[in-house]
Amino acid sequence: MTPSTASAEKQAPQKGPNKNRIGLTMQDYKGAASTLCAGCGHDAITSSIVKAFFEMDIPPHQVAKLSGIGCSSKTTNYFFNTSHGFNSVHGRMATIATGTAIANRNLVNIGVSGDGDTASIGLGNFSHMIRREVPMVYILENNGCYGLTKGQFSATADKGSHKKGGEVNSNTPIDCCALAIEMGCGFVARSFSGDPKQVRTLLKAALAHGGTALIDILSPCVTFNNHEGSTKSYSYAKAHEDPLHDISFIPNYEQIEVDYEAGAMQVVTLHDGSAITLRKLDLDYDATNRSSARKLLDAARDETLFYTGLLYYNDKSSTIQDNLDLVSEPLATLPESLVCPDRKVFDSLMDSFR
């Protein structure tokens, strides 16, 4: 009754042709065929997820794919056929993830959500999940609208942006990255589905981080929000993307050897010993400084700028499992002897009521 949570060793660990270090091919990370609209940004992110997990040598059976409801939330079905997936209800993925993380601390939790799912109905639970330090990679596929219900504005739609029919959004947008920083998230990144290299690198870093990692990815909805007047369209994103840095990931089994002029590069070491290097571009940006991140995001919102990259990193690596002082084995499969106290305990408790 105890599912083995054996590590990757069971699979032949040799790296063969087109195989990763646990002997799997990219194909082993694929999922069902997508049913999204041709050209949907979400599909590009799915591809990046497949590649990142393949490259990170993560055994699919150790992954839990979690989502809410929406086009974005459907995508967990389109990768990792041999991972368990839980497509739950609208806006509550954060709560499911909390339970999953606690029930089996060996799982790698990847959550995919939409801007409606996270920033509208799910805002409260999302914020609290971050505050609780639930370890997971949380991917927000942000298209500024509700794709699956046909394109209404979501809470991340920029003020003044237009709907296909011309209606103008009059509400202040919610910046989930800024919110995540406010809630204490240690890994906060923003990217663009049309920048697969950056997405993939951020995903790998997020996996190596091991804590709560948010990646807010502008992912255009080609059907409902890809027109002139939208600030979440491909053309808008391409024209406005402003990467904060050139980011590279160095896995923990490689030597960190980087040549750089002083000040031109920031090296951030992650929880599992891997590292990322952030080569500076125009902006002199320190991704480990919370005030810089705040200032940047305030400016970005005020002027509708689109910075991408690792916005904020903080290496405190406590997790909810630590906070709860959990045993190292998954709670889900602890043997009965450990979870059902014995007669001695029973008798002493009974006595206390006599």
Partner: protein, 613 residues
């Protein structure tokens, strides 16, 4: 401190016929937040220590301090422990309620009254003890704030002498209440003694009521339903709880946290083999436990009415995606915020079909604290065996009051984790289809996330799906799955706790009830037989869905009074729909004023209906 002899001397007992022994209702009227609660518990506990059957019910307001609160102790040698709205002894400490409190007393009742409230007494058929509490307090402590606390134990001393409660039993009670707080215990004993001595010296009236040591409660235990349920869950191997505070369920998880911290740490590492999370709301607590249940942890949440409403959507997902999870509903009076500190059975019909669309759920309905323990334990088994939400329907009356009980039994059987396939199982069986009814009982096999096998994974969803858990909008996939869920429900029918029936064999009147109404119904049957020569059969429903045994009971009786603590007769409605051919036999007797149901109101309800024909 010397232990006083507490047996009243013969001369002190009432002349004619002697006092009524071990059968009375004592009501203490105070304010909440005044510290009276611990004194009342000491009083109750002392009765228990004397082997006298007694129950205590706390009627408290939905605030924290300064509003009227009543604690009612029923003493009954025969073990009738239900609510009884007939007060034999009143300790009237609250000036704001004293007029009403006095008015409701039966003639001859004993009254313990602060002497400065004496002007409120306008009746002359009461045995009033005017006690100079203020002066007595000053004898013990000078500090006014402390004095406010001490006055409570003083009245216990007076009551004890008047009724003849053992000082030994009382001091045991104090030690039990203030375990680990020696100074508080000492002060309390001192004040107790002082009240007792005052009474011995000054209380001269003959009394109609007295307490004597007894064997009737021997070997029993005294426990709250929430404590019992927490224990049941712990012994049932629960590993994850998420909850959001709400009266009257909060104490369940708070007790659990205490037990688990003590008894559920890994002996080697000292680490926790469990997690208890106070969630940000009920949407989160149910989401977390559904997530954990899916992952394979035995999980539960506890809440009350408003939380049940908020959990509706997620419970529908758990039903449809077949995720095991236990939800404890410690019912309080609704609708809406309602009366948060009053008891009710108003969620029965709601929980049964919680969520939109066609869903029906499993409800276990404990009738006493022992069943709170047993059903809590069993709910975890049923949830995992049948991969579905299981509700444990307790209520404020059962959950938050100290009840007498037979000792619980240590569960002997191993816990049942249901049809879970491991990697090894998968190797053996070769194939896996999450929603295939392999065994014909509607219950499918599942795997847990993390299972190291290529065939283990499946995709869980709240949308239509095939047997292999693939997305499907096909009509026949949908309908077949919905039909299988009914098949599963019918399987469950036979495996939930069965009703307890008692056939009178003398006539056609049946009574059906459930949950915390049991005590009052038992007592009511006694009165019906005694006073109205109405012998009744009794069926206590202990779970939904009901099964053949419940039907059989109805079938055997021309009239079945369905007694419940809600306005709309929610259980009766379910039964009428289950058994249309017997629907006319089911007559609702409802009680919904927030006070626990009592035998008299059942008797009156039934007699009124019976006389109507």
């Amino acid at each position: 401190m010397p232990t006083a002899t507490t047996e009243p001397t013969p001369s002190e007992s009432p002349a004619s016929g002697g006092p009524i022994i071990n059968d009375m209702v004592i009501k203490v009227a105070t304010e909440n937040g005044s510290g009276s609660q611990s004194s009342n518990l000491i009083l109750l506990r002392s009765l228990f220590n004397m082997g006298v059957p007694a129950s205590g019910k706390n009627l408290f307001p939905s605030n924290i301090q300064g509003l009227p609160t009543w604690y009612t102790i029923r003493v009954n040698e025969d073990g009738w422990m239900a609510q009884r709205n007939h007060v034999d002894m009143l300790v009237a400490m609250n000036a704001k309620t004293v007029v009403d409190d006095l008015a409701e007393l039966t003639p001859g009742a004993i009254v313990i009254l602060n002497e400065n409230l004496s002007h409120f007494v306008t009746r002359d058929d009461l045995n009033v003890h005017l006690v100079p509490f203020n002066a007595l307090v000053k004898d013990i402590v000078k500090d006014a704030k402390l004095g406010k606390l001490v006055v409570n134990i003083l009245y216990v001393g007076v009551v004890a002498w008047v009724l003849g409660i053992d000082m030994e039993a009382l001091e045991q009670g104090v030690d039990w209440q203030f375990a680990g707080k020696a100074k508080a215990a000492e002060l309390n004993k001192k004040a107790l003694q002082h009240g007792f001595e005052w009474a011995r010296a000054n209380a001269k009236a003959k009394e109609h009521f007295a307490v004597r040591r007894s064997d009737a409660a021997k070997g029993q235990m005294m426990i709250e339903g929430n404590e019992a349920a927490a224990m049941g869950l712990m012994f049932g191997g629960v590993t994850f709880a998420a909850w959001y505070p709400i009266t009257p369920s909060s104490s369940l998880c708070e007790y659990l946290a205490g037990y688990m911290n003590e008894h559920r740490r890994d002996p080697d590492s000292g680490k926790a083999t469990y997690a208890i999370v106070q969630a940000e709301d009920e949407l989160a607590s149910i989401g977390m436990v559904v997530g954990a249940g899916w992952t394979g942890a035995r999980s539960f949440t506890s809440t009350s009415g408003p939380g049940i409403s908020l959990m509706s959507e997620m419970v529908g997902l758990a039903y449809f995606a077949e995720v095991p999870v236990v939800i404890v509903d410690v019912q309080r009076m609704g609708p809406s915020t309602g009366l948060p500190t009053r008891t009710s059975q108003g969620d029965i019909g709601k929980a049964y079909q919680l969520s939109h669309g066609d869903c029906k759920h499993v409800l276990l309905i404990p009738g006493n604290v022992k069943e709170c323990f047993e059903f809590a334990y069993e709910s975890l088994n049923l949830a995992e065996e049948y991969q579905t939400p299981v509700f444990l329907m307790s209520d404020l009356d059962l959950g938050m009051n100290k009840c007498l009980s037979e000792p619980f039994e240590m569960p002997e059987e191993p816990i049942r984790r249901g049809k879970v396939l491991t990697a090894e199982d998968l190797d053996r069986v070769g194939e896996f289809a999450r929603y295939r009814d392999v065994d014909g009982d509607g219950v499918c096999y599942r795997t847990l996330p993390g299972t190291n096998h290529d065939a283990a994974a499946y995709f869980t969803r709240g949308t239509g799906h095939t047997e292999t858990a693939a997305y499907s909008e096909k009509s026949d996939n949908w309908q077949q799955n919905m039909d299988r869920l009914i098949r599963k429900f019918d399987t469950i029918r036979e495996h939930v706790p069965q009703p307890i029936t008692e056939l009178s064999g003398k006539g056609g009147v049946g009574i059906m009830a459930y949950g915390s109404s049991d005590d009052a119904v038992q007592e009511a049957r006694h009165y019906l037989a005694q006073r109205h020569a109405m012998e009744t059969s009794y069926c206590r429903v202990r779970a939904l869905p009901v099964n053949g045994q419940v039907r059989e009971f109805v079938d055997q009786h021309e009239i079945v009074y369905v007694v419940e603590q809600n306005r709309d007769g929610q259980m009766a409605a379910i039964l009428r729909s289950e058994y249309p051919e017997l629907a006319t036999r089911l007559i609702s007797v409802v009680h919904y004023d927030g006070i626990a149901i009592d035998a008299e109101s059942i008797v009156n309800g039934i007699m009124a209906l019976a006389s109507r024909g």
